[in-house]
């Protein structure tokens, strides 16, 4: 528990910054919704008829004029991309930073087994992701109350659940990477998040690339799909979780054997 507490203290500032930034952007979008809603009836048609661009963000399938449709596109992109970056950043640095910052020699010469180091650090990553998601959800719901809209609970919660799962997958994969790299991990982590995001856009644009949705976690967390289907695609989630778990297992295998370079 000592290391877990230590990690949480160390990442307090980063957690606050990310949560505040994502929460602020999401709240801003929701607060703008009533103003935009009136204009949306006309704009919706326009948004829906921009061909590939509309398809890319799922705007051909859902209405910009309803709160959940609006939320899926605006906030979905903020929490989707922001959350993915956050999860990637937390996970990809957590193991690697000890060697990068030369603190590994201090930490690893204490009587703590490698397995407990990995476990406590993993717990710290997951806890940060949970806290960030709970707080941003609370901020979103709060701002929906403020603007006095009726809250489409089911769709909102489903979307948030999907984003959370997506972050777990990216977190798991990046945690695995963190065990292998000493420096440069942040670039790889954020790169993976961006690549996954664009893979989903490609899948949305082209029917031939539809299968790509099964690779990227943005596939099952696509707000437009969730609202249209009223559910999260279970198969995609299973594949995603399997990838995340594979990353975590890889971290355990690698890091318990790794030569630490102080």
């Amino acid at each position: 528990m000592t290391l877990f507490k230590h990690e949480m203290k160390q990442s307090k500032l980063s957690l606050i910054t990310w949560t505040a930034s994502i929460g602020f952007l999401m709240a801003t979008c929701v607060l703008l919704f009533p103003e935009m809603k009136g204009e949306m009836d006309s704009v919706s048609d326009m948004f829906a008829s921009m061909g590939s661009f509309s398809a890319a963000f799922g705007m051909d399938r859902i209405s910009f004029g309803s709160l959940d449709g609006f939320y899926a596109i605006e906030c979905g992109n903020i929490l989707g991309l922001g959350g993915a970056f956050f999860a990637a950043y937390c996970a990809v640095t957590i193991l690697a930073k000890e060697e990068k910052d030369h603190t590994a020699e201090f930490l690893m010469t204490h009587p703590v087994s490698r397995v407990s180091i990995i476990t406590e650090k993993l717990a710290a990553v997951l806890t940060q992701i949970v806290i960030m998601n709970v707080l941003t959800l609370a901020i979103s719901i709060g701002s929906m109350y403020i603007v006095g809209e009726e809250i489409p609970w089911k769709n909102i919660l489903l979307m948030h659940l999907a984003y959370f799962l997506m972050q777990l997958e990216i977190g798991g994969i990046c945690f695995g990477i963190s065990a292998f790299v000493r420096r440069g991990g942040i670039g790889i982590g954020l790169g993976i998040a961006v690549m996954m995001y664009f893979l989903n856009i490609v899948a949305n644009i082209s029917d031939k690339a539809e299968f790509v949705k099964y690779i990227t976690p943005f596939g099952f967390s696509d707000g437009a799909d969730i609202i249209t289907n009223g559910e999260i695609d279970a198969l995609m989630v299973c594949i995603g979780m399997a990838l995340g778990i594979a990353g975590i297992i890889a971290a355990y295998i690698k890091y318990t054997k790794k030569d630490i370079n102080p």
């Binding site: 290391l3 201090f106 690893m108 010469t109 204490h110 009587p111 102080p262």
Partner: protein, 305 residues
């Protein structure tokens, strides 16, 4: 029981040599010195002992427990001071010391306070604001506050001023008297000569000598300084000849009688014949050709020095 024992310990980093066939035995309660220049393999050895890296061959054990086994059990008994102590930025000194104790699941606050006081360490400062020497002090407190059975120190005095060095060695000796084994790695020989009972010399990854500090320093070679004019041509085994204004200085390993004959024939104003210090012996271990090294290892120091 041996505090540290390695048998044929070998480490390669890819193809690069770390250490080769290292045989080391440190008895419990010893103050043991580990001497070698940078890159000789001192830190590699220490990193294998502390479980940071895995050996490529051979074995190493601490208090009879193999280091490839349960690291956390072995590390319970060890205090370790790295050559460059680095801590988590943003933390205060007292928090780092507390973290170190917490990671050991022990309350060492009393001992930590005593050590901080003796080393004059300001515990309210942030670690990134500390000078190199003060960071070292934090490392020393972290290495000693839990009264370990074995303390491994890698270049412990770099950055410490002479007064602090003395205080530090006083602390080490006190703890050693109450049972702590000390394994001190250093390239400062005077430090080892003053503070250690036994020492091992490592060169290019190999152990080239391991004996009591006294015997390491005691060879038949003498450092001879002559003021005046002497002709050294007739002498065998004269080395490291340095002429200075009005005299000459050399290492002599031959027969003392011959030396006296040569000196008597010359014009000697002043003369000193002294035991070379460990520093000099050390330099010779390192300047010698590899075949000399092999001879040294075979215990034929007298002939070659």
């Amino acid at each position: 029981m041996k505090a540290i024992e390695t048998k044929g310990l070998t480490k390669f980093y890819g193809k690069a040599r770390g250490i080769t066939d290292l045989e080391l035995a440190v008895e419990e309660g010893e103050l043991f010195g580990f001497i070698g220049p940078n890159g000789a393999g001192k830190s590699t050895t220490i990193r294998i002992l502390t479980g940071l890296i895995k050996s490529s061959g051979g074995s190493a054990s601490i208090f009879g427990k193999d280091v490839s086994g349960k690291k956390d059990e072995i590390l319970e008994d060890i205090g370790y001071l790295p050559s460059e102590a680095v801590f988590y930025n943003g933390m205060k000194v007292k928090d780092v010391i507390k973290l170190s104790a917490d990671l050991r699941k022990r309350d060492c606050s009393a001992e930590a306070a005593t050590l901080c006081d003796r080393l004059q360490l300001d515990t309210e400062k942030k670690v990134e604001e500390l000078s190199f020497g003060n960071r070292k002090k934090v490392g020393i407190v972290c290495a000693l506050q839990h009264n370990p059975k074995l303390c491994i120190l890698d270049e412990p005095t770099s950055g410490l001023d002479p007064l602090m060095q003395r205080e530090f060695f006083d602390i080490l000796r006190e703890k050693n008297r109450s049972g702590m084994t000390v394994f001190l790695s250093s390239h400062v020989l005077s430090e080892i000569q003053r503070n250690c009972t036994r020492a091992a010399i490592i060169r290019e990854g190999r152990l080239i000598a391991c004996d009591s500090v006294e015997s390491l320093a005691k060879t038949s070679a003498k450092r001879v300084t002559v003021h005046g004019d002497v002709f050294l041509g007739g002498l065998t085994d004269v080395r490291d000849v340095q002429h200075f204004e009005g005299g000459v200085n050399f290492l002599y390993g031959g027969d003392i009688k011959e030396l006296l004959t040569v000196l008597a024939a010359g014009r000697v104003i002043d003369l000193s014949i002294a035991e070379p210090d460990l520093e000099e012996i050390f330099m010779h271990y390192y300047q010698d050709e590899p075949q000399d090294m092999a001879a040294l290892k075979g215990g034929e120091q007298n002939d070659t020095l």
